[in-house]
Symmetry: C2
Subunit: 166 residues, 2 copies
């Protein structure tokens, strides 16, 4: 009898340790998404190398969006950006998208500094489009919630691809 | 009356265009997670640069896991990996974790090639631990579902940090 209880216990322990999902001491977490709230329906590249690869191979411009989760300017711009259907649809159909909270080692992506939020377009020829700027002289690639139409105009500029070597 | 209907229509259009969330023509997508199923409760770095930064600043080893979504070997190993509580708990509490489907430009991360699945440990001193290997001579950093105990042993080795310059 004791042996049977012991066996049952062993099975129970085995089942628990195999199937009981890990939960952190601090409580269950919501899985992080690659979109980070900038457009859950978009297919986001994970890294700059991956974004460049998809941009070249699909002949679509790459939009790189630098932001920080705890930056109120990023949050405010994210709300407008993620809720704008024209932005979302155009990005989904005509762009490769990448959002980063950590800077890359490529200095071309910070032509005038590493502030956030900051949007840099890259042509499929792998040329950073430093000519596509926002409206602030001291942070040329920054956008605020009121600049969403300017961003759409700039997306249009990015879609006019530089001459590619075909 | 016509004016009122027109106004109501305008409001309706405005509300729809503002609040109607973008849905791709091909149908609604499930948002991509940074974990990609390798542990939804872990906090994943997005890029190698980010992983190195957290490894150094928190003095924890970094585990870099290369895989592919459509690779059956990666899938089989992922199932065992994500369901193993000891692996998940140890990674959560003592490691910085990064999973990549696209190779980096750093050749140190592919000491004997770019196959998947492949696990490389990096010390907080930013030294790739090429000495921590699996059991296959031709793919030294590959793991199969049956190798989960060996992976735990190797995680233990990675936790014995190299001498840091304090």
């Amino acid at each position: 009898m004791i042996k049977a209880v012991f066996s049952a216990l062993l099975v129970l322990v085995a089942v628990t340790s195999t199937f009981g999902k890990y939960i952190p001491k601090t409580g269950k977490r919501i899985p992080q998404t690659l979109s980070r709230g900038w457009g859950d329906q978009l297919i986001w590249a994970q890294t700059y190398e991956e974004g460049l690869y998809w941009s070249r191979s699909r002949n679509k411009p790459l939009m790189v969006l630098f932001h920080l989760e705890d930056c109120p300017h990023s949050q405010a711009f994210k709300k407008v950006f993620s809720e704008n259907n024209e932005i979302q649809k155009t990005l989904d159909e005509k762009f490769i998208v990448l959002n980063l909270v950590y800077e890359t080692t490529d200095k071309h992506l910070s032509p005038d500094g590493q502030y956030v939020p900051r949007i840099i377009f890259v042509d499929p020829t792998m040329t950073v489009r430093a000519d596509i700027t926002g409206r602030y002289a001291n942070r040329m690639y920054a956008y605020e919630p009121g600049d969403i139409k300017l961003l759409l105009t700039n997306m249009g500029k990015a879609l006019k691809l530089l001459k590619s070597e075909l």
